[in-house]
Amino acid sequence: MRSVLRSHWLYVALTAVLALVAAIWAVPHLSEPGWFAYAPDPTGFTPPLPTLSPDLFLFPASAQIVLLAVGVGLLVQIYSTAYLGHHQRYRSYAMVIVLFLVAMIAVVGTTNLWVLLVGWEVMGLCSYLLIGHEWETGEARAGAAKAFLVTRIADLGLVLAILVIGETYGTYDLLGAQPLDGEAKNATAIGLLVLVAVVGKSAQFPLHSWLPDAMPGPTPITALIHAATMVAAGVYLAARMLPFYADSTVALTAMAVIAGITMLMGALFALVQTDLKRALAWSTVSQLALMFAAVAASDPEAGLDHLVAHGVFKALLFLGCGCLMHAVGTSALSAMGGMRRPMPVTFWTMTIGFAALAGIVPTAGFFTKDSVLHALESATEGDGALAGGTAWALFVVALITSLVTAAYATRLWLKTLLGPAPGGLDAHEAPLAMTGPLVVLAVATFAVSIGQPFHHGIGVVSTVIAAAGIGLVLLMWRRGSSLDWAPAPLAAELGLDRPFSRWVPRLTGDVASAVVDLDRDAVDVYPRGGAAAAALGTRGLALVQSRNVQRYATVLAAGVVVLVVVGVVVS
């Protein structure tokens, strides 16, 4: 037992060292002015062949994300010692988390696009391995395969985008390739390709369905990879690449439309779920779309601020969800309720998390969402690449999403933490290794607010909207509603998953079978035909050499006759 315990803390120590090194590296960069460094180079060369020199470089926003990743990563490692420490495959689990963190740092901390790509795809691989951690169950296998396939196919967009950047600017270095204002080339192509990549990675419409299906993965992994870091890396990439396509109305409009559809859709789906983890997953999809909206409105800084705040409070919510699952053994809402007395730490910290999700002052969620809404509102003036009308539509959708978000956050809070406890439930508070990280994240939910900008008008509007959403749900709750509403199309998630779960696999299987049959019966015809022709030829030649003297004589005689006739006729 002792050695087991020791080996658990070995991985925590490893992660802690990684976090410490990253922090020493990142913290000084937090206060640097400016957020992109421009160092344009004369271009027009063929780009060099790819290398993987690390080329580490941080600017304030990426330093924040590095700190978020290693911080949540360390907390998740500590949390996992209690949550999964008994698992027979704990070692590989903990090692993959460390590999994941290294990959995440590679994505955020480099200027070499190839290093970024390697980190990007290694993150996807780690996500695949960790979703499939419980590979004995069919759900985990299917979820893992879907996540890997969807993200990797979308990642081809990033590969192509990097190739186009290389051919356009003659280098694969992000700093070397920064276009000057108004001199961006191939902006629409690069923008759309980047958009494909981030839509896959961040589970945006129409490639959104893998993220909720990834929920069979262990809950700490969901907190780290599928809420705080990897899926958010899509937003980081979109923001980091923005200078390449900031001029392209097409790319930004496409991003705005996708963000608008996704944020409302995710929030509505979150509203009707009967499973806490799946509801939180849809909430992540919706919040990521909010960040993309900020990027589309050409205010990437607001998007990245919301990324950090969301990473903190969503990690808190998922880890809290893990504590509840630890206590009741399932993530179904129907099994939860009445948690205030048996699980006070989980109750209070998760309450803070839900408040941040709903956007209540003074949590970080309020301030950063405020910034995003402000960015959208500023874009409605239409002096950026995004048309004013598009920005208006996006702004309105974002306000509606805020309302729905406050409503589903309240609903989840009521159904999981308050409400009547289901009979026979013997809930108990999680061990210190699990509650400790919750407390740290709850404190961080307030700490991240420090220094965030505040916009009066928008702040009041968003507070009113949030209050309306919360009030509405509370009112229905008071009147005795069970809050279990699920219109059929919403419960079926609009059937948007059907192409991915049915049509594409079936079509591929059918085409593949046809190919195998053709390979056997059509392509292979010429060698077999050749063999048959050769056999026929030899049989014909064999007839001539029949060793039958009479036949030889007959043929000779016939030949003489023919020759004589020909000779007579010709002469």
Binding site: L52, V118, V122, L160, P527
Partner: protein
Amino acid sequence: MIVAALLVPALVGLLLMIGRRLVRGRTAAWLGAGAMTVSLVLFADVWEGRADVSGEVDVSWIEPLGARLHLGVTVVSWPFLLMTALIGVLCCLWLLADDTSPALVGLVLVISAASMGVFSSLDLLLFFVFFELALIPMWFVIAWWGSSTSSSGAGAAHQSRFKNGARYSATRFLMFTVGGSALLLVGIVVIGLDGGTLQVLDAGSASLAAAVLVCLGFAVKTPIVPFHTWLPDAHSAAPTAGSVLLAAVFLKLGTYGLILFSTVLDRFEDVAPYLAIAGAIGIVWSALACYVQDDLKRLVAYSSIGHMGFVVLAISTQSSAGLAAAVFGSVAHGLVTGLLFFAAGSLKERFGTASMTRIGRGLYGRSPWLAVTFVLAAVASLGLPGLAGFWGELLSLRAAYEVGDVLTKPVAWTGLGLALVGIALTTAYFVRAIRLLAQGEPVPHDGDRDLGRREAVVMGALVVAIVVLGLVPALVLDLYEPIRFSVAR
């Protein structure tokens, strides 16, 4: 030095075949590994820099034909040579077992030596002689030590006429490649008549016939769709060491030949568009075929066709990125597919079949290290950035995107699009294979046994090579970097 590097394995191989009753299998395998290590060291040591022909040997041979014994290591052939020697060493180590036949080790050595001869020939006729020399021993390897393929094989109906499925596959393999070689020989004769010389560095031919014949010849060997139907049968019937040699080394004879002859043939540009499209179609075609395979060895064999499609697409662009892509892709495919075949071979040794349904699910639980090795090989083969398989594919995409001098934009970009579809499908079929084999509720089987020491050493060496090449692609790519840009990285 090159002569010694070729002769040592060849002579040891011949002696082992002659004296196959005098030595024990284990001793023979050690001797073979030693001989191949000598080759590896010599070829590594002979390198004099990318601007020169290293270790050149030039002796007169058949004067009337203008053929000379001309050997040398060039910037293109060096990576191929090192990879072949490494794979040869590993194949011999793999055969370290009491029941190994010394003659099999001898054949492996002769095949490796002949292949290295192909890669170091600077005379077209000598190239052809080595090319054929590698072929014949392979028939014996497949026919004598192979095992019958599953009944889903391309010639299932015809197979019944032969008592032994492996012998059928071997003969098919031989007929196809000899047919290709015949075209190649005629092509070489035309080149010789045209340019008046058979020396690679001086030869040139403006004949379209030569270009077509030579490309057809290599299309069988590489193989390019639709000349590929011999490959799944041969690769899946061969014993493990034979499959590895076939995939890692033999297919490279085709791609190396294409690279080499494309410099000689002036009219290569007329053939290039057809090669590009055939290669790109091959990527998609083979990936689709993989998607429904049940036999793991057939799956890996089909996946090779796809990887070779990337290489052919790269060669057909005739650009510097394309050259780097072709060499890197060939070498990486040798390592990755070698590892996949070693893993599939260990499964076949344990369970007596390579059928995924019969091996059963949950290898993660039944033999964890073997499962992890297989998953790593699969992930490398599907081209995960950071592992060796990626850079060749990436550079092929880049070469196609840049179009190059000989292709037109519609052709090159069609190839690019097909290649992208192929990458997506490749991910799909490997994820399926992982799901069928590694994951799932484990059902224990008598054959369950994790990696032995011999297997761990051989596969470990390949894993290291794959990771190192994946993280430091510059090891190979620096050979082809035209100029280093210090400012714009």
